[in-house]
């Protein structure tokens, strides 16, 4: 595996190899990411950006990493480039829209769900949640059930009095077991000892608690 990326590591001594279960992967410092990706695209033929996503490590420094999965349509090879973001609550990463047009929506998604600011993005808006939504839901400190906020439409709130509420988890989240017979693989709550009528007794880290530092995220 290392043989494949050896020339890349030699050309850019800042890169380090990253352990990976499938395709070759490298770690790249944030300051070099545009330069390295331009090099991979122009000189190594990795002309296709399959995916751009992010990872939240919560208590680890640096907390957020951005992951680029590249493919070469000539060599039919993949490579993964991972770069840490600078900043903890407001992570910042360089935008690669200038290299691959498809990065536009991918970066908007990573901004929407992880709150990563892409420096140089032409139009960094939310793409899945509505514009006024105050949180970044794929961050690890955001509860899956959600947090009560206003509806995106005032008209709707006036008419119905409805609000965006935390979803009833009732023993969830719901998983389908990967093992056992098909009869045992129906999706069911991870912890069925509690539900809407039977309150959860001990809750050291209740899923609906609002962590204090979430409030400032925008």
């Amino acid at each position: 595996m290392t043989a494949q990326i050896q020339p890349i590591l030699e050309a850019h001594p800042d890169l380090t190899e990253r352990s990976s279960a499938d395709n070759p992967a490298v770690n790249c410092p944030q300051g070099k990411v545009l330069e390295v990706l331009t090099y991979l695209k122009e000189e190594q033929g990795f002309d296709f950006l399959c995916d751009l996503t992010a990872i939240d490590h919560l208590d680890v420094e640096p907390r957020f990493e951005v992951v680029y999965n590249l493919f070469s349509t000539q060599r039919h090879e993949y490579i993964r480039v991972v770069t840490p973001c600078s900043g903890v609550t407001d992570p910042i990463c360089a935008s690669v829209v200038s290299l691959w047009g498809t990065a536009d929506w991918h970066e908007r998604e990573a901004f929407d769900l992880f709150g990563i600011q892409f420096d140089g993005h032409p139009d960094l808006r939310r793409i899945l949640m509505w514009d006024s939504y105050p949180y970044h839901p794929l961050r690890k400190d955001f509860p899956l059930a959600g947090i009560e906020v206003d509806f995106p439409s005032e008209e709707l709130m006036e008419q119905t009095g409805a609000r965006v509420k935390a979803a009833p988890m009732a023993g969830g989240p719901f998983h389908a077991s990967q093992s056992g017979s098909i009869l045992d693989r129906e999706p069911r709550g991870a912890d069925e000892s509690w539900n809407e009528h039977n309150e959860k007794t001990e809750s050291p880290e209740s899923t609906t608690d609002i962590p204090g530092d979430l409030e400032e995220g925008q």
């Binding site: 949180y135 839901p137 899956l144 059930a145 959600g146 008209e155 009095g161």
Partner: protein, 179 residues
């Protein structure tokens, strides 16, 4: 007396007049020509399409005229997951439909949020529009949808069809949900 004696309406005897209750006639008309608004939002919409095909044939019940304009339809079939972002659209389309109108929540997602217990999915479309019939299943089979629509026909049949004409009845509001 022959076996063909006609006990029904006979224009020669009745003089081309039928006596009935207004409710019975109006509800008969309404329930046999439901024009659905297919609010297809996720996988359930595929079953909704199947119900419109020849195998299940929703036109047997007079509901095959799916209209993609709320102005021309009177029964919104919410088929699929309603996200919070989509909720305002569902409500607005409901508001644009002319009275009388009905709502069918098709499938687990529309009825209760289904398996999407998460920050993004509305936990039941009845939080924003009044639902007349809930259909269980994920997705419900087309037979289940047809059964649900027949339940709706029964329900229409029991309604006071002229109830709202003479008094200024508010559009079915959801004030009971307000805090």
């Amino acid at each position: 007396m022959t076996a063909t004696t006609d006990f029904g309406y006979n224009s020669k005897v009745e003089g081309e007049v039928i006596v009935s209750r207004a409710d019975a006639v109006i509800n008969w008309v309404r329930r046999h020509s439901v024009w659905p608004m297919p609010m297809g939002l996720a996988c359930c919409a595929i079953e909704l399409m199947a119900a419109g095909g020849s195998r299940f044939d929703i036109s047997r019940f007079g509901m095959e005229v799916m209209r993609f304009s709320p102005r021309q339809s009177d029964c919104m079939i919410v088929a699929g997951t309603v996200t919070y972002k989509m909720a305002q659209v569902v409500r607005r389309i409901y508001d644009q439909m002319a009275e009388p109108k009905w709502v069918v929540a098709m499938g687990a997602c529309a009825s209760s949020g289904g398996m999407y217990r998460s920050y993004a999915a509305l936990q039941g479309v009845d939080r924003i529009v009044p639902v007349d019939v809930y259909i269980s299943g994920c997705p419900p089979r087309p037979e289940a949808l047809l059964d649900g629509m027949m339940q709706l026909q029964e329900k229409i049949n029991r309604e006071k069809s002229l109830g709202g004409v003479f008094k200024n009845r508010p559009v079915r509001d959801l004030s009971f949900q307000k805090k």
